[in-house]
Every structure is written in C-alpha cells, then in structure tokens.
C-alpha cells in the first residue's frame, strides 16, 4: 500500500515535471529519458562482467535500421522502432561469435573495433546509409490521441510522455529479468564462471543472451532518438558518446539497478544546468573525464553507495524503534 502510494506520487511528479520547464529544457528531458534506457540496458551487459565499448554504436544500429524501415519499406513508425530493436539484438548475436572468444580487456577492445567497423560501413555506403551525412528527414512518430490526451509529437512534452511510457515499460522488463533466476545466473557467470559452468550453466549462451537483450534495448533507445531528432549520422554514435555512457555508469555505480540511472540523471542535470549556463559546453568531454577520475578515486562505489548508506541507516534504525515501542 505504502509502496503503491510512493509509486503514484512518483508518477504524478514525472507527469508534472515538464510543465515547469522551458522548451529547450523539455527537449533535454526527452534525451534524458532515452539515455536512462540506454544506460540501464548497458548495466544488464555489465552483470555478466563484460564491459563493451560498442554499446552506443549498437544504439545507432537501432536508430539507422528503424529509420530505414520507415523510409525504404514504409513501415509504421512504432512497428519500425520495435524492428530496429530486434535488428540490434540480432546483430549482437552475430557479433557474439567473434567477440565472445575474448574476455575482459580483449572484449573491451574487440567491441570497440566492431563498433568502429559498423560506423565505417555507415560512412562508406551512401546507399542506403547516407554516408557521412547520414539519414535525414526520418519520419516522425505520427500523432495520435488516447481520448484524454492528444499526442502532438511536434511538442517535446508529448514525446516525453510517449518515450517515458516506453522506457518505464522497458525498465520494468529489465528489472524483472535481473530479479529472476536468469539474472542470478548472469551474476553467477560474472563472479565465478567455472563454478557456474560446473553447475550446468552454458556460459556462451548466457553471455550472448545478456548481450542480445542489452543491445535490443539500446537499439530501441536509438530508434526513439532517431524518430525524435529526425536525423542520424555516424558521428552521433561515436566514442565520445560512449564515454558519456561509461561515465554515467561508473559515477552512478553498477552494483544496483538504480545506480546508472542516478549517474545519468545527476550528470545530465549538472551538464545542462551548470555547464551550459557557464558556457563550458565545449569542455564537456574534459569535464566528464575529470568527473570520472574523481569519482573512481573518491567514490569508488558510485553515487549508489551514498544512497545505500542513507537507506541502511534507516533500516537498521527501524528494529530499535520497534523494540522501544
């Protein structure tokens, strides 16, 4: 009951949120929502212990393919978004064959190389990828009405609600996966792959599963972004963006589900409010790098560790209260 109330209040806050903001802030909010999905999907991959540098490119695969499905085949936008996600997941399954011959550091480098190859293909082939300039004039999400609300996707608020609903549904699915026996097996694969295998776990299958799911949701995030912005090009998915994702995950911490989300929100707010106001926008990569190093040095368990400390104090305080009454 109490949880339900908290949920209700949270939802109301999320619905009310954009109305106090300026137009450009509302646009940032849309990107924030999409990035929350991106970084949460990234965490699912890290559960198995592998860190990829190709995740943003996989996001781009979702964006490109969804754009092409609508442009070339005339697929209805929401359907093409789903197909874009599926394409990203299938590509991940294909990539898993060379990539999962490697582990740890080599996987990291291998995933970077794979991402660069994909970006090279986008740049090299003007048909159908549009070369360096990418694809523009991507079909927007068609407006629709749900009775009490009219979605007009020219308005960022509408797209925020639309993307927000999808992202919440995706987060719920990712949460269910993590809390399931499948999620436990991901952890097992991470912490002690030998013992997991001796318990009958097919390591390759589980690594591939995590990679495919993470990539599918990243692809969906990409599709959501592509149909909002209206253009995609190889540079919107370069290593600089990947460094942002890494920074969100590391600064937030990856031990909990909410850690990377926290990192993403805090750094986006910092970025948009502080840096933009101060005119330091150009120095963003530099400042992000500094934040990453500082947080590794002084907050090695991420922002989530602060939250955990605060809530643990509360829960340990509780039994004493009970004892007193």
């Amino acid at each position: 009951m109490r949880n339900f109330l908290i949920l209700l209040v949270g939802l109301a806050a999320l619905i009310a949120l954009p109305h106090g903001l300026s137009f450009s802030q509302q646009e940032i909010l849309v990107f924030l929502v999409i990035n929350v999905l991106l970084v949460t999907s990234y965490r699912l991959l890290t559960l198995t212990g592998e860190w990829s540098l190709g995740h943003v490119v996989i996001m781009g695969v979702g964006a490109y393919s969804s754009a092409l499905y609508t442009k070339e085949l005339g697929v209805y936008v929401p359907v093409s978004m789903l197909l874009g996600a599926v394409t990203a997941a299938l590509l991940a399954v294909l990539l898993s064959f060379p990539l999962f011959r490697m582990k740890g550091f080599y996987f990291l480098i291998g995933s970077f190389a794979a991402g660069e190859i994909i970006r090279l293909i986008w740049k090299r082939f003007r048909e159908p990828f549009g070369g360096v300039r990418g694809i523009s004039g991507i079909d927007p999400m068609p407006d629709f009405s749900v009775g009490f609300y009219q979605f007009d996707f020219f308005e960022p608020v509408s797209y925020y609600y639309f993307a927000g609903a999808i992202v919440i549904a995706c987060l719920w699915i990712l949460w269910r996966i993590e809390k399931s026996p499948v999620g436990l097996t991901f952890h097992a694969v991470h912490w002690q792959d030998k013992l997991a295998q001796a318990s009958g776990v097919n390591l390759r299958a589980y690594r591939t599963l995590a990679f495919a799911i993470a990539s599918g949701f990243a692809g969906l995030a990409g599709a959501l972004q592509g149909h909002y912005v209206g253009t995609v090009n190889p540079n919107s998915f370069d290593i600089e963006v990947m460094v942002f994702v890494l920074t969100w995950a590391i600064v937030g911490g990856t031990a909990t589900f909410y850690g990377p989300i926290l990192g993403c929100i805090v750094l986006t707010v910092l970025n948009e409010i502080v840096l933009r106001e101060m005119g330091l926008e150009q120095a963003r990569p530099l400042i992000y790098g500094a934040i990453m190093i500082l947080s590794i040095l002084f907050l090695p368990n991420g922002l989530e560790s602060l939250v955990q400390k605060a809530t643990r104090r509360k829960t340990t305080a509780k039994p004493e209260e009970k004892a007193a009454t």
């Binding site: 399931s180 026996p181 912490w191 002690q192 013992l195 318990s199 390591l203």
Partner: protein, 255 residues
Amino acid sequence: MTDFLEVRNLTMRFGGLTAVDNLSFKVEHGSIHGLIGPNGAGKTTTFNMISGFYTPTEGQILLRGEDISGLKMHEVARRGVVRTFQHSTLFAELTVLENALVGTHMPFRPNIFAAIIGWDKEDRRGAEARAREALEFFGLGHLAEERAGDLSHGHQRALGMAVAYASHPDVILLDEPFTGMNPEETKHMMGLMRRLKEDGITILLVEHDMQAIMGLCDTITCMSFGKFLAEGGPSEIRNHPAVIEAYLGGARHVA
C-alpha cells in the same frame, strides 16, 4: 554392478610435462571411489578432464558407455557429473542461498519469458525448496542469508558440496573436501557422504586425509607422477608396498 564411469588410457600433457600418463580405472555405480597420490600426482588434472574443464591429450572418459571426453563442462554436468573445486570456489559476493540456487540451475532451468511475465513462480519455489534442502543437508540452513565470502573455511567447503548436491547429480567429484575442517567436522562430513551414497549418488573423492579415505572408500586408486600405481580396497592399499613407497618418497605419509 555395472561399470558406470570409466577412464581409459587418459593422458594429459602440458607442454613437456605429462601430468597424467595413460591412466585407467573404473568407478562402480553407487560406490565411493578414492583417488589418492602424493602432491602433484595429477589428481586434480584427472578431475579436470573428467569434468570437461580440460580436454584430454589422449584417452577416453566413458559415462554409461558414452564417450564424454572433450565435452564442455556444462555438457558433462548435464549428464549428471558434477564437481567441486580444490580451492573454495564459490560465488563469494552472493548469499549462501543464492549460491545453492545457482546449483539448482539444471533441475529448474530458468526461462526468461516466463520470468518476465511471472509464470515461473512454481519453478522458483521448487528451486528455493531444493536449495534450502541442500543447505540443510550440509548443516548450512541457518547461514542462508550470509554472504558466502564471509563464511568460515569449513563452511565454505560444505557450501561447495551443497551447490553440487543441489543439482541432483549422479556422480559427484570431490576435490579435497575435508581441507580446512577440524576432526569433528570431518567426521560429520563423512557421515553425510555415506548418506549421499545411500541415496545412490556415486562419489569420486580426492583427499589427503587418509583416515577419511580409508574410512569411506569402497575402492581406492592410487597414482603417482601421473601414472597408475595400485588399486584395491582400503586394507589392500594401506599395505601395498608401492603405495607406501610412493608416500614415503613424497612429503606425506600413510596414516
């Protein structure tokens, strides 16, 4: 009784070193079979080959007549052969219960779609029941919520066995399960092994604690420098000149 697990001309070379050299022995169904030998004799390497962790350089491993050499570890496990590790290998960051739950992976195979929708409640309940049963059996029930890495050494050994036992194995390969246990715990653990045997589980046991080996095993195979040395019941092995020689030549002695 039938030949259940058979090792035939097994050889493992690491570069120039022959860790296991043309080793053959048979394990009868439902028995406790000991594998002994001085340090570095090749016992763990033999386990690694049987469990699929290493692919033998030469030779075969037959399970119920099927050649399982060269299969991956999870494929061997799925045929009912489950191992523990010499050094306490556990999911240190997970709780004791979660460790045992990973052990139930085979009898309760996770399904991602059922898990998302919530149609796997029965499986989850079954898995937890089995995990708790395995923990109770090894006297770890009261530690279920502890972090596995925080357990005492003896409890960690027991948990390693509980994880293996949770999967309903036909054969358990135990690599030095009694190290780190005091005599009291060892005695208790020996009792549990006999109960496993009564349940029809075949046990292949590597151990340096001679009292435990002699007290438990139906048959003992002794190896030295990777080679087969002798085989027989406890009393035969205890008095076998070659075995005594091997142990006197090595660091340890037969108790």
